[in-house]
Every structure is written in structure tokens, then in C-alpha cells.
Amino acid sequence: MELVLTALGLILAGGLVPLPMQRWSTGARATHIALLAAGCLTGMIGLFLTWNQEAISAFSCTWLQVLPLALALDSLTAVFLLPVFLLAPIVALYGYQYLDRDVSPWQTGAHQLCFSLLIAAMVLVTLADNLFAFALAWELMSLASYLLVLYDHEHEESRRAATLYLLFTQAGALMIFAAFGLLFQATGSFTFAQWGQAPHAVKLTAFFLALVGFGSKAGVMPLHIWLPHAHPAAPSHVSALMSGVMIKMGVYGLLRLYFLLDEPAPVLARTVLGLGMISGVLGVAYALGKHDIKRLLAYHSIENIGIILIGCGLGMLGIASHNPAMTAFGFAGGLLHVLNHALFKSLLFMGAGAIIQKTGCRHLDQLGGLMRRMPVTGRTFLTGSVAIAGLPPLNGFVSELLIYCAAFQGVRLQGPDALLAMAAILALALIGGLASACFTKVVGIVFLGEPRRPLSSPIAESGLSMRAAMIVLALACVLIGLWPEPFIRMALHGLRDLVAPAAGSPDPLGSLPENLALATRMFLAVFLLLAACRHLVYRNKPVTQGATWGCGFTRPTARIQYTGTSYAREVVEFHQPFVKIRTVHKPITKIFPGLTHYASTVEDRAEIGLHRLLVAPILRVADKLRWIQHGHIQLYIGYIVLTIAVLLLVV
């Protein structure tokens, strides 16, 4: 615990120390990264030292004389802390070269401060052990991330996105606090540990209230609306951090609350599972329809949160139905996916950032052929894509397999839970297929083929620090994929302090991790063998270069290539009632048609719904009510008289 607190201090110092040295830009950036890295390393060491300790280490103090602040480090915390400590320095390293050098020094300084603050706040969120500590950390996290989203503040879009984000996060935070308030009222204690004694009804109300708050932070459909706006607006490494780690704090909060409440009612599990499926399938369906690369990735975050929630929901269902294997598989899969998603999503956002930085363009349909121009970015991005599509032998598959296993365990259950579990399997299969469709789209359109519009200047590979960050993450993805056993055990470790293992029960996971490792390595062996054969066959063979065969077209241009829009059109149409496609097309009417064009955009149903059902009516009513402030004093005195009359009559 002391080490983790030291880490906190170092991380915060990483934001504060560079402030006075902003004139020396390189030094400030280097200090920032060095301190962050030192802090995260310390934290990591602290985590591993306490990893196998049975006792939960805790820390507490009093704030403003009366408000107790308590921190505790248990296994769930440790599992969620790991990605934070792992990613923060890598993301910061990427930021070293990604951030513009020509912005004002104070802006960079403020950015570094907020960055450190965000990391520290996330550490605090996971450590928090009572109402006030959690609230403080949660709000600090909101503050820091809000300011980070606002970094590109000259753009109107960024400002709108940041405002939207602030609104969602504040509304969500207030919901969470209300839920905590209910629990406090029922138990009379601020401490998390006491809340399990609340009455049944209070627990359910609190859980659903908090679900709204945590869900909106995590980006669960339909509370995700801020997410596809905020992620593209933020600088890419911030998106990487937010998408990779921050939104997981919503999941963390949900899990923490769930275990605190110790409430085995299946309705909780079913809700979480249902939300997970909705987010997963629709998230990826929308992602297919989006062509702004960062917005697409943002929707994939929604999808992956969906997968995590499916895993956790299955785990909860396992608890509700006393099925330890299902519990273990579900939570292990969900928690491992937290780490996995953190790795590959940050990697992908970094790749997107490199593309945007070098080409100045974020629309898929204008890019192309970058694999040969940015080989490192391209290869790492490809790795990330395979990982996020949940394909073996990379890490995304490991967690999805665990979740599948949990779901298949659930098929054995009785009644609606079995149907839900089957639905979860189908949803996972659909998500997997759609995700690989979506990432073949991204990789294929952006990195492969030819540039879809003339490049103004030759495109160079991104800077060394950016490349290093991406390579490290790509290697991590491969590592977990090929050597999954320790990581699966690690994810399962998250449950140690929360779910009492049934006495004398065998390892719930069985030998799955080892077998999985065997299978992936075997595949790799087959692959390498085949590659060697291919190499042998190609020896002494004539290999020539030529143009792509145009199937009879003599003058193919780069613009004739398939675009992201056309690639995804059919799949998106398949989801039609839930996904709204708007087409702008001037039909050909005359014999000699003039210039015509065609454009189609995919709009978010939830966003439209929010606007139509909530925002527009509120604005309309507010506008109508403005006549209250009418300007005439007689009316104002009338209000006073009226108030008296009403109060005297009522009382």
C-alpha cells in the first residue's frame, strides 16, 4: 500500500514538476514521462508485493475534519490497477512526440498536469473504500478527463464534445452519489464494507441508479452518446488512455458495487448481461457504419465494454445460480478482457493518431496504401486489429474464449437464464464476425491498396517514441495470446477476496489455460512450418511485379477502389431498424444526366432519441418559460403577492 501511495505521489509530481520548466519543452516532456514511468513502476512493484497477501492493506485519514477517506487494496483493485500502471507510461511516451510543439507552453503544461491527474484519479478510484474517497476520486477523474478532451479547444467540435462529456459524466456521477446516499441512509455508514447489510429493495434501487452512472461512464448503450464525440475530439493518446483505461472505471464501479451489495438476485445479472449484448452488437454495427477512424474506434470501445459486461453478467449469473465454474469463467473472461482491451484499443488509437498526424486526414475513404509508407504503424495496427477482432492467436481471443465457456456453462441452466446464455453466445459470435468485418475494413481501406486521394507530400513513418509505444503494445498483445496461462490466472485472481471459493472444489478453470496455450502454439507451429515450405517452394522461382489486374478495365484509378462506405453498406443495412442510415443522393432524371453525387451517413439512434425526446422538449419548454422574466415590475410584485397568497392558503 505504501508503495502504491508513493506511486501516486510520483505520478502527481509528473504533472507538477514540468510546470515551471515549460520553456525547455524537451526537458519538461522528458521529466513528465520519467516521473510517470517511475511512479507506475513503483505502483506495479507495490501490486506484485501485495499480490499474494491474504490481508487487504488499507489506509485511511480524515478530510475536512469530518469526512473519512479510506483506501484499500484488494484483489479486484489490483486487477484493475494493472492496466492503469501498465498503459500510463506507454501512452505518455507516445504523447512525447504526438503533441504539437507549437502550442503555448502553458497549454502543454496544463495538459501534462491533467494527464497525471487523470492517472492518479483512476488509481484512487480503484483504491477508494468509502463514499467520500470514491466520490472525490471519481470527480477528479471527470475533471481531468474533461480538460484533456478540451485540449483541442480551438475547434468548435471539441468544445461541444467536451461539454457533452461533462454533462454525461456529471449526471452519471450524481446518480452514483445518489445510489451511495441511499445505501448510506439504509446502513448509516460511509464505509463500503457495511453496505452489504442494506435491505433488499434499497440494494436493487441503488444498483440500478449506479448502473446508470457507471454505465454512462463506461459507454453502455444507450448511455454511450458522449463517447463517440469525446474520443475523436481528444488528442489520440488521450483517447487511448480514456478508451483503454478510463471507461473501465465504470465497469470497475459496477463490479465493486455488485460485490459490495452481495445481492444474488438474478435480475442484476440479467440486466448487466442484456446491456452487454445490446452494447456489443450495436456498438460494432455502428462502428461499421462510421468512417471517421477515431469515431469508429470509439464505437468499438462500446462494443468491447459490451463484451466485458457479457462476461461479468455471466459471472453474476453464475453466482446467482451457484455455478462456480460459470462464475470463474465469466469474471475471468471479463476481467482479462479489461486488460486486453486496454492494450489493443490504446494501440489502435495510437495508430489512428499516427495516421492523422501524418496525413492530416481522419476519414477512411480518403486514405489508402499506408502500409508501405508507414510500415511500423501498419504492422502494429494490423496486430491490434486481429486482436480486437478476437481472433487467435492474439489476446482478444483468450478472453472471448473464457466468456464463451461461461456462456456454454449457462446453457445448462434452467428457464430464462439458459435462453439468455444462448443469446450471449450468439451475440458474441455476431460481435466477433462483425468486428472482423469492421477491422478488415479499417486495415484494408487505410493501410492497403492505393491512396484514395493524391497525397500532397510523401508520408513518412511516425516518430520514434510513437513507434516504440506501439511496438510495445503490439508485443504485449502477442505475448498474452501465446502465453495466456499467467494472465488468465491473474484475471481470476481478481475474485480472490470477493467470492469465497467452494470448499475443496477443484480449479474452476480446469486445464483450459494450458490447453489454449498449446493450441495457439500449435497453430503457430503449423503456420511457421507452412511459411518455411512456402519459402522453399519460392526458391529459384521467377517473381515479377505488375499492375493489379483490372478485370478488363484499361484505365483503373485509385478512386475506383472499394471504400469503407461501400464495404460496410450491406452489413449496416442488415441492422436497419436499430441503425439509421441517411442517404443524400440526387437521382438521375434526365436523358443526359448532369453531375450527381451520393453520400450516406449512419446516425446514432440513441443520439437522435435523446435529442428528440429530451433535449428538444427541454429547450422548447425553457424557451416558453422565459416570459417569467418579463421585464415589468408590476408582474414581479405580482409574483410576490401570488406566492404569499398560495402559501397562506396552503398552510
Binding site: V66, S142, L143, L167, A178, Q185, L625, I640, L647, L648
Partner: protein
Amino acid sequence: MLEAIFFLPLLTGLLTLCLPVRSGRVVLMAVALLHLGLTGFCWLHAPAPHLPTYFGNGPAGVLVLLVISFIFVCIAPYSIFYMREQEMRSEPIFLGCMQLFLGTMSMAALADHPIVLWIAIEATTLASAPLIFINRSKKALEATWKYVLICSVGIALALLGFFFITLALDRAGIDVPLTFSALNEAARQLDPLWLRTGFIFVLIGFGTKMGLAPMHTWLPDAHSEAPSPASALLSGALLNCAFLGIYKVHCLMVLAGLGEFSGSLLIGFGLLSIAVAGIFILNQPDYKRMLAYSSIENMGVIALGIGVGGLGLYGAMLHLIHHSLLKSSLFLSAGNLVLGFGTKLVAQCGGMARLLPRTCLGFFAGFLGISGLPPFGIFVSELMILTGAIQTGHPIAAGLFIAALVLVVAGFARIATDMAFGPVREEVLVPEQTVRIVPPLALLATSVLLCVWMPEPLYETITSTIAMIGGTLHG
């Protein structure tokens, strides 16, 4: 000793009206510092009042007095340099009235006799009217007229309310002096019907002054038209005095066993105020009016906190302190903006970050604070009020509170970000000046400091304030 706190500024204020501008400024500064010193002394040593029939040093009053005094010290130097940019003929009036205003507010904070409290609060209206009018523009004229008339009417009703409370005392047939401290002791014997009626009138009367909807109508006009230091003082200090009046009567009600009644009225008015403020903050074209509506909102929050009781009481007191600090800081920043851009319209104020970076820092940080984000204290207070509302069994109030807060943040965030970072204007009329930057930042820093570390005496003052009506902090 205690009485000197308000006699001093009253005397020097009258004096300043006749002095030349230059010496008037010196007097203002000196009085501000002296006042803070005196307040600090009285706070820590609690001297007995010379006129115990009229004045007393109850903890609530001392708390409000501390806030007033501290804010005034920050505003005084700012206003001197602000007025210098304005080059106004009537500056002596401004300087004098500032001190008179301070004096009347201090008097209100220290009053223990209901009618004396009433006199002091009515006097604050009169002393601050010239401050609003100082620009002599048509709009300022209109704002002043509305301010004086509406507040006078409202406060007159409060007088009626005090008569009813006196009647309640009469009908109880006990003979105690008419002071709050004496009334509190005899609270149980007072006639409940008249006490209730009295509370209604006091609530409406002082509620008018405090800016509770629907009696708030003067507030946006007056705050937007007054010069910014005056707005800061109105919002940061005056509203608290009016609140103090309501709070004292509410205490009486609680002690008389009518806390349920007065509490639910406060909750009702509080929620209404937050909602009304939210409606007007959305798409508000004038940033000073927006700040004014935000004051209404925060007064509503305080009323709500007091109304729900429990943890909410402590939250409300914290909210009072932090709102004063943040809002006066915001108004001072807004003053720099008015000087720099010469307009109060949001649409014409883009690019603050580029043109007035230090003002922008203060303004934006103030916005974050007032939206309830840490490390500013409003975060704690709103959290406690929300928890308190649920704790004491007002879930519906808590729900409405959440909805209204989100509405307010929605309006405020959009305006603040656009102003800070919107399209950049070409030129600045009056450049930034350190003396006008430091006071708002100092106020912000104080809020942060008080959110990190609360001095023991201040904590004790707050707890003894709320202890009177059974506010505890441990559930």
C-alpha cells in the same frame, strides 16, 4: 468591540462620500483591512456585545461576517483599479457606498434583535442601490429601480413576519426580550400558528432579497448592470445576509418543533430556484446575467441543504462559503472581461484564452468550481447536500436536485467553453493588469485551500452553527 465592526465602515463610509477620490481609495483599503482584522479578532476571542439587546455574536452571524469580510478585502483593491479604468466622476459615491454597504451587511450579520436585523437588511438595499446605479445608464437605472422597489416590498413583508413572530411570543404569555437568543430558549412555548405565518412572511421577505424564485426577479438585472466589483459583493456577501435572516427564523422553527414545516418550504423554494435558474442559464446570451442566475441556483442549493437537514446542513454552510468565494471570483473575472471586450454578450467574447489568458484561467477555473468539480469546495457541499437529502428521506427532492443541477451545468458549460476558447476576436480594449487578476485568483485559491484543509476554528464555527438545530455529521 463587536459593534465597532459595523460602526467603523458606516462612519468612514459617510466620511468618504465627502473626501476626494484619492484619499477615499486609501480609506477604502484601510477599512477593508481593519475590518478583516476586527472580524478575525472577534471570531477568535468572541468579545461580549455592548448592546446585548440588539447584537450578539452567534456562530451563524460570525460565519457570514467572516465570509463578507474576507471577500471585501479581495474586492476592495480590485474595485479601486477597476474604477480607475472607468474614469467615473461619481467615484467618491461608489467608494463611500461600498463601505456603507459593508457596514450594513456586518450589522445584519451581528444583529440579534429581529427588527434590528430587518433594519440592517433594508439598509443594505439602500446602501447598495447607488452602487448599481453608478453607471447612470438607462439599463442601470432600470435595474436600480427594480432592485430598490422589489426588495423594499419584499423586506417590508419580512417586517410583517417579525410582527407575527412577536405576536406568537405575546400569545405564549412569556416575558422575554425580543432577541433571537431569547426566542430560541423559549421556542417550545411559542404559538405555532403565528410562528408559521411569521416564517412564511420572513421567508418570502428575505427570500426576495436572497434571490429565491419566484421572488428573484430583481437579481439578474441588478447583478448584470452593477459594475463587477459591486456585483461580486452583491452575490458573494449580500445574499448571505438575507439567507442569515431566513436561517435564524428557521432555527427558531426547528427549536419550536416546526422544523418539518419550515424545512419543506425551504426545500420547495430551493428546488424551484435551481430549476428556474437552470431554465434561464440555458442559452443565456449575457454572461453576467448567467452568473446572476447561477447565484440564484446556488442560493436554492443552500436553501435545499438547510431544508433537508442532516448532512445537508453542513453541506449548506460549506456551500455558502464556497459559493461566495467562487461567485465573487467569477464576477471579478467577468469585470476584467467587460473591461477587455467592452461587452456583456457571450457571442462577442470568444478567444479569452488567447487574448486574456490569466482572466480566462480564473474564469474557467471558477466555472469548474461552480459546476461542482473538485478541488473546489462546491463539490463537497453538493455531495453532502445530495447525500443529506437522501439520508433524511427526501428522494424526490434529491432526484429533482440532480436534474436541475445537470440543467445548470449544461447551460454553464457551453457558455463558459465558448467564451474561453471560442472564435478569437481582434483586439482588447483594456489589457489585463496583475492587480485585477490576483483578487479573483486569490478567492479561487482560498476555495481550493478550504477544500483541502479546513482550519480548526472555522470548523468549530460551522459545527456550532448547525449544532443549534441538531445538525450532526455522523449520520
